[in-house]
């Protein structure tokens, strides 16, 4: 049986992610885990993250980090929100934090003004730059739910973009890694379809 590990390093919306995966799974088993052995024996990985990036990086202990970095390089991986930001090169949040560098791009603060509220909170359109298996059966420019104050303005690995004042990268794809700024687990039918595509995805 295919096993999906939702990586628990103490930060993140693990339950809503695993509930959404369970809602679309047919034969896969979904486990929330911080156990390195379980992560090593799982077929796919989900890497969530919520809150401040510095806290997330600090909560991610050295041993677990090593294992996850090793496994993320070879298994289909879905990174969400701050989990996605952690895979980039760096973030200017919390006075500057170094990322894991698996995806191209840097994270910057979203600029607010009278019309542009920060956090960027709510439903916004995800516009395709390329095709990808994980976008299958989801119409281009569908609405997904976002909650974030920092974003990546551009990346060589950009798959989709979204506009909140300025354009930013709303999802990334590189080899076996798929990473999203939005929350598919909160994005109703479009989000559930994305999770279904992730379960069906083989790299």
């Amino acid at each position: 049986m295919t096993q999906i590990a939702v990586i628990d390093y103490g930060m993140g919306n693990l339950h809503s992610v695993s509930k959404a995966l369970e809602a679309v799974s047919q034969k896969e088993s979904i486990v929330i885990t911080s156990d390195q052995e379980v992560i090593k024996t799982s077929d796919k990985l989900v890497f969530p993250g919520v809150g401040a990036i510095k806290d997330c990086m600090e909560a991610f202990s050295n041993d677990l980090k090593e294992t996850v970095l090793e496994e993320v390089k070879k298994k289909p991986t879905l990174a969400i929100c701050v989990g996605m930001q952690m895979l980039l090169e760096s973030s200017e949040e919390n006075g500057g934090v170094e990322g894991l560098g698996l995806l191209n791009g840097k994270v910057c603060k979203i600029q607010s003004n009278k019309d542009i509220k920060v956090p960027h909170m709510g439903w916004n359109q995800v516009n395709y730059l390329k095709e990808h298996f994980l976008l299958k059966n989801i119409i281009d420019s569908s609405y997904f739910y976002f909650v974030h104050s920092y974003c990546c303005p551009s990346s060589k690995d950009a798959l989709t973009e979204t506009i909140h004042g300025e354009k930013f990268v709303s999802s990334f794809a590189k080899d076996n890694i798929f990473a999203v700024q939005f929350h598919p687990e909160k994005s109703q039918s479009a989000g559930l379809q994305l999770y279904k595509n992730f379960l069906d995805w083989s790299v």
């Binding site: 919306n13 339950h15 809503s16 509930k19 959404a20 809602a23 919520v50 809150g51 401040a52 607010s112 009278k114 509220k117 920060v118 956090p119 960027h120 909170m121 709510g122 439903w123 916004n124 359109q125 609405y143 739910y145 976002f146 909650v147 974030h148 104050s149 506009i163 909140h164 687990e185 909160k186 994005s187 109703q188 989000g191 559930l192």
Partner: protein, 255 residues
């Protein structure tokens, strides 16, 4: 081309049932919160807010079970408020599946709580609910009230919303207690003053009686989201009708 304006139905829940107080005394039972949340989700609600109005603390476990049950079946954001006083309360609600928690009276009584909560869980899940009432001595000024409007605090609403924004609130749920339950529409003067003074999103609440009121909250009040309870519970209007009306008036909404 930008973030859609949100429609948020609100469930006032007492001992595990949705109720809507009409003049406080006449509480009408509107049904099972899980079933209603599912219906709103299907109709296209952008989020759901659930306010636990149960007075006693013995029924908190019922609240957590209701939250868990909604969160496992409805895949849109869920905000839960009512009786959130301690960090532990927030932790339990988030673990039960809430995406955001709304803090009201305890923020007024202990503003440091907002800061502590935002530091610990992130601004994205901390909503500060502000109940506002017009000051009687001066036009266009409002003060924060607590305990369902019974207690006037003297705190200026505009100063308060700026302050909690600095403390790390991610969103303001702004209820006009002068309008709540009246069906006369939002106090858009209040909404617009608060919304233009802070950088975080404002949810307008209190007074919705028809679909034009929702439109005015966005167009005149400048709200990022509009919240209503009774017009949806008793099926006077569906969420879909509300969205169609907003779209027809030129507001960006999600379909």
């Amino acid at each position: 081309m930008s973030v859609a304006k949100r429609i948020i139905p609100c469930l006032d829940v007492d001992k595990g049932r949705v109720v809507k107080g009409v003049n406080f005394l006449n509480i009408r039972d509107a049904g099972d919160p899980v079933e209603i949340a599912k219906r709103y989700d299907t109709e296209g609600a952008d989020e759901i807010t659930m306010l636990d109005i149960t007075a006693s603390h013995e029924t908190r476990d019922t609240t957590y079970k209701t939250v868990e049950s909604i969160a496992s079946q409805v895949f849109i954001p869920l905000t839960v408020g009512g009786g959130v006083r301690k960090i532990e309360d927030i932790k339990k609600l988030l673990r039960s599946g809430a995406d955001k928690v709304s803090i009201n009276t305890s923020a007024v009584e202990n503003p440091g709580f907002v800061q502590e909560a935002a530091d610990k869980f992130g601004s994205q899940c901390i909503v500060v609910a502000v109940d506002a009432k017009a000051k009687t001595d001066k036009d266009n000024t409002w003060e924060v009230v607590t305990y369902g409007g019974r207690n006037r605090t003297g705190i200026d609403v505009l100063e308060w919303t700026e302050q909690v924004t600095e403390y790390g609130a991610g969103e303001i749920l702004l209820t006009s207690m002068d309008r709540d339950g009246t069906k006369e529409g939002f106090d858009n003067n209040l909404v617009s003053k608060v919304s233009s003074g802070i950088s975080i999103p404002v949810i307008a609440s209190g007074g919705v009686g028809n679909l034009d009121h929702l439109i005015d909250g966005v167009k005149i009040g400048g709200a990022e989201a509009v919240l209503a309870a009774s017009i949806f519970h008793f099926s006077e209007f569906s969420i879909k009708e509300a969205k169609e009306a907003m779209k027809a008036s030129g507001i960006t909404v999600r379909f």
